[in-house]
Symmetry: C2
Subunit: 447 residues, 2 copies
Amino acid sequence: MASKVTPISGFQEWLPAQRIAEQYVLDTIREVFELHGFASINTRAVEPVDRLAGQGEDADKEIYGVRRLAAEAGEPTELGLHFDLTVPFSRYVVENAGKLTFPFRRYQIQPAWRGERPQRGRYREFIQADVDIVDTGELPFHYEVELPLVIADVFSRLPVGEYVILVNNRKICEGFYRGLGIEDVVQTLRTIDKLDKIGADGVTKVLGEQGLSAEQIRQCLALAQISSTDTSFADEVRALGVSHPLLDEGLEQLTAIMAVAGELAPGVLRAELKIARGLDYYTGTVYETLLLRQPEYGSICSGGRYDALASDGKRTYPGVGISIGVSRLLGLLIGEEGLTASRETPVAVLVAVNDEAQRTDSMRIATALRTRGINTLVAPKAAKFGKQIQFADRRGIPFVWFPGAGEAGQDQVKDIRSGEQVDADPGSWSPDQQDLRPTLVSPDSVG
Amino acid sequence: MASKVTPISGFQEWLPAQRIAEQYVLDTIREVFELHGFASINTRAVEPVDRLAGQGEDADKEIYGVRRLAAEAGEPTELGLHFDLTVPFSRYVVENAGKLTFPFRRYQIQPAWRGERPQRGRYREFIQADVDIVDTGELPFHYEVELPLVIADVFSRLPVGEYVILVNNRKICEGFYRGLGIEDVVQTLRTIDKLDKIGADGVTKVLGEQGLSAEQIRQCLALAQISSTDTSFADEVRALGVSHPLLDEGLEQLTAIMAVAGELAPGVLRAELKIARGLDYYTGTVYETLLLRQPEYGSICSGGRYDALASDGKRTYPGVGISIGVSRLLGLLIGEEGLTASRETPVAVLVAVNDEAQRTDSMRIATALRTRGINTLVAPKAAKFGKQIQFADRRGIPFVWFPGAGEAGQDQVKDIRSGEQVDADPGSWSPDQQDLRPTLVSPDSVG
């Protein structure tokens, strides 16, 4: 095989100990999604190009086409790698509608690909962990209340540090704008979305160019400045004196979300009325999630309510979904901050080999330990015991098993950290629970 | 979104209950790989085309190129989807050699892609589950003994039915051929590989055309006919009267494997000297695995010993590896034979909603159950209890929880299969272990 190795930027790969940390995060996400009653699906990596093109929340993504190298020169590129998990999910729903039970709650944890220029937190290949609830015809609002609580449950079990789920509702902005007499709601949303980037002066200028009056602009900016960790945002909005039925509906919905979250996940949600990203795509509640220590890193978990995930001509499928940007999150936690695992191997016990003629005895011991769920390795060589202990030590394996090392020929096991060595029977001995598998080592406890 | 749905042949997707069966199989494979001390790695989906081309066991695979749709017309296709997990693994080893601890035991469970014409058991996108042990410089033979025992442990925990791991050794064939004076070993191996397809007469004809004498051909066919489930194959080979140092070495190695396997995994291995596939690629032991009820379905797990997985100019990495063709296996078990899960959702308990104003009470109960690891869903609507029970029944959810349904206002839980309804506290009640998660429903017990 060729010896030259070409790193490819934008593709995240981990060393074994880091990978164990990644697996911990992925397992936790899956576990919580299942606790909340979501069923897994897995879709193929490719979709027809005409299904990918022009779809989804981000219109500017770059699609990777897929085509056999041996294809004829003139053959068109018909397949592309999916750039999110929503497009394949909507296709899956339409394709299997007759075989699914609605409301359909699915989770999906898979890579997606975008041919963009890699940046901090943005990769060309990245794992997403999505939950969506879709129904046929009507989707009750209470799912918009439920979904951020699922995410709060996930993050409560992961070492993500302090974070906030920002929540807004398309109906508030649209109703407010319409109440002000603004006609181009989407254009206004897109301009407000630039608030953090170009400031109030910049937004004022652009909205003015878009034909809004000074009073309309003042009100739009006033709305965007409202933020609360409880239901008080609603009074602040009403104090602006704008009225519209859609505004009332939006305020009622966001109030319901903040009230329930205040009880079931206190301190996690913040009503943040300047959030506009995705509001031109979503139709109700939208969510973004920021890490408080690095808000500029961008949202690590976003989503919202949509009225038409898909349509098959006969039926339309409304839904609400949230997507955790796993690779983005791990790019920070593992890549930048050093989250890792307590060892680079799942192994808890190394069984020493007395001499090569007795290797089968060591294998038999390993089999007995494995039968009881203990990850076990047999030493690679019948070397001196000191070398075999060193082999375990270099990998962080806490225990070494010595066949027949006891005075009466019984087995012994050594905790190589404490040096303590005791008689042990492979049919009954177990390590302490915390030594059974590698554990997460958080940045705080590193070094 | 467009309503037309285009199925793409060669891409396997499952319905939710089937997916649970797939997850069970993937989880089991992972669990056993970790029990045997393999560490996980995950590699990017793409490799540089020049690294993919001309590599690997199968020279005839079709590579999928990957290229941005927006790329300029003249831009070359530099990336391709990996067609196995060995090429990315060898690149990973070279790229990270300084950070890995050798011998390095890794497992890798990921999809791979080939642009081939789909056939029964052959897909364009397919999941492989690989284990490899690589070292620098020298790799002890005992790993060739160990690896089929790992696979035997995996299959002992999966509903695969009766199977056999066929084992051969390149050194036996090469030594035997050389002892007969045959010079082109690889060409002879490739012809012998056609034995099942073209028969002894066909092979005789082709080997004759390749310049072998009648006696050489007779001996090659005699060797290929030897097969045993114990170590007796060695005497049969020796009785053919051919001698060569490489032959002796091969016989000794295969005998060692059959002896240890006979003790630690009795009945699972068969020495099968006609196996030639892969022998032109591997340098020692080779493995193939057949399901006894469908041997014509092809090998569901193959691998072998290689002397140079990779080389970085300074060092060479010999190894031994086996790959389970998960998609091929599941194409049969799930796709053809109907293996599935006992329900289409992970949910064990549905919490009923008395009326919408009390939804938060039901959510609080669900939270209490989830805290103790019970997958729980809150009913979508405060419908009549009969409808809520029907909702659970349609999904196979075994229990429905009724808040405050007891005489003294305590909660009750109903097993909807038996109809039994009892008082229950969400802080302490648990379902029976077998109802906690969906279980596999094997074809035998279907219908």
